[in-house]
């Protein structure tokens, strides 16, 4: 009865260290992005320097959504094939997604405070992001609650699927809700390209790329960690069993 260790602790001299490359690339782009955001991009008309948090907020929000799209895909894959690899991917991506979404909400709140004088407003995008955050925190709670066999993994997968599908639905319903109470402040499009001077757009895109690379690196590392934990548990189990088989006739207590 063999137990295969599917993940190596680290790269050998022969294999390409993709993870290291990702981290390095992310770091480089990040530094570039930082420079662009802080120094290169022009000062914004109404908000001056406080607006620069925009270069953190938008990429963080984008990465958060990307992470949950990955959770959605991995969850479907898991329910379809029941392969542990999909479950690990979903778990890792959920954790990272919650981190980035938290960052997005917090940075958005800071931006909102300086732009409109209020920490929070119930516009569709913010509301949807907040609900998204909630749903995935609950997924983590479900995973933490554990449970017999693959059950918590399957529940988490079901949540990942329905939760992701919920996003456009929540957005739609809030938009309709909002048509009753239009916002007093026009939310300036944080969208890509619309009304942004080219330097700002460049800074934004570079930061988006940096955050995406960061996500990919974190995802890869976290997933490998989880797989290693799996392998460790399997090894422990394997070590326990042959010992008992060997000692069977005439063995005394110590076992159950």
């Amino acid at each position: 009865m063999a137990t295969t260790v599917t993940e190596r602790a680290g790269p050998t001299s022969r294999t390409v260290d993709w993870r290291g490359l990702l981290v390095g690339a992310g770091g480089l782009i990040g530094v570039l992005g930082l420079y662009l955001a802080l120094l290169y991009a022009p000062e914004e008309a109404t908000m001056s320097h406080a607006q620069r948090i925009f270069y953190v907020h938008v990429p963080a929000a984008w990465t958060g959504f990307l992470a949950f799209a990955v959770v959605f895909a991995a969850s479907i894959g898991f329910l379809w094939t029941r392969r542990r690899a999909f479950d690990l991917a979903a778990h890792a991506s959920t954790e990272i997604g919650v981190v980035f979404t938290t960052l997005a909400i917090l940075s958005g709140a800071v931006w909102g405070r300086s732009a409109w004088g209020t920490w929070w407003t119930w516009d569709p995008r913010l509301t949807t992001t907040f609900m998204l955050w909630f749903i995935y925190v609950v997924v983590l709670m479900v995973r933490a609650a554990g449970g017999s066999g693959g059950q918590s993994a399957r529940f988490a997968a079901a949540l990942g699927i329905i939760g992701f599908l919920d996003i456009p639905l929540i957005h739609l319903s809030v938009v309709w809700w909002r048509s009753l109470h239009p916002l007093p402040v026009v939310v300036r499009p944080e969208g890509f390209g619309s009304g942004l001077p080219p330097e700002m757009l460049t800074a934004l895109l570079v930061n988006v790329a940096a955050f995406t690379a960061l996500y990919a690196a974190l995802f890869s590392i976290r997933r490998a960690q989880m797989a290693a934990q799996d392998a460790l548990a399997a090894l422990r189990e394997a070590a326990r069993r042959p010992a008992m088989r060997r000692d069977r006739p005439g063995m005394e207590e110590g076992k159950r």
Partner: protein
């Protein structure tokens, strides 16, 4: 063709391996008793045979067909668990009617009455199951498992919670009702298991540790084998 064939069944719950490449066959009309200590994997094995749990690898064949491919084959199985599978808030008769109709029996009321009679519960037919003793619920469980006349009967530790007298009554009932069915029975009680079995298997740590040759075994021989496998009295 074997009635039940389990081929190289492996099942893990997370890192814990419950069953390790277990292969077992049960011939048509045979009664197989599976003994083993707690955690040996008996319940998991039986549930996999009943298609309630999916194995990580390996195949289950019922009369040569794969029930995972043809879910309709599940109707071939009657399952008695150490849980009763009965709704305490329904009467005995209602429980049987519910099960019978679920399996699509058109003669549900007649079938329910016949089974109640066979297990000796006609007098309590219209009492809520909540009021039944453990022995009575186990008898009703057999009735429920047989309501659709399945050729295969699986029993998972049915003697749990039964005192000696009730256990003896249960064995007698089983012997009377099994007919030509194929029966697989897991139990701690070697005495009761041997009384019914044509063949005996001992499961330890997710693997078959002992498989008796054909022919009835006496309880002492099995107990000795069991002690050797497990290293402690059962």
């Amino acid at each position: 063709m074997q009635a039940v064939a389990l081929q190289n069944i492996t099942k893990s719950f997370g890192p814990i391996r419950a069953l390790d490449e277990v292969s077992l066959t049960v011939a048509r009309g045979e009664t197989l008793a599976v003994f083993g200590p707690n955690g040996a994997g008996k319940t998991t094995l039986l549930k996999i045979a009943a298609t309630l749990i999916r194995p990580n690898s390996g195949r289950v064949l019922l009369f040569g067909d794969d029930p995972l491919r043809r879910p309709a084959l599940r109707a071939l199985i009657g399952f008695v668990s150490h849980h009763s599978y009965l709704y305490p808030g329904l009467t005995a008769r209602e429980n049987l009617l519910f099960a019978a109709r679920l399996y699509g029996r058109r003669d549900a009321p007649a079938r329910a009455a016949a089974l109640l009679d066979a297990v000796g519960l006609t007098g309590r037919a219209d009492d809520l199951v909540r009021t039944f003793s453990r022995g009575m619920t186990q008898r009703l469980s057999i009735a429920r498992a047989l309501v659709h006349d399945p050729p295969i009967l699986l029993l998972d530790e049915p003697y749990t919670g039964l005192d000696r007298a009730a256990a003896g009554a249960f064995t007698a009932l089983l012997r009377a009702m099994r007919g030509s069915r194929t029966v697989v029975l897991t139990t701690h009680s070697i005495e009761q298991g041997v009384a019914l079995a044509d063949r005996v298997v001992i499961l330890v740590d997710g693997a078959v540790a002992y498989e008796a040759a054909n022919g009835a075994q006496d309880a002492v021989a099995v107990e000795r084998a069991y002690a050797a496998c497990v290293g402690a009295p059962a």
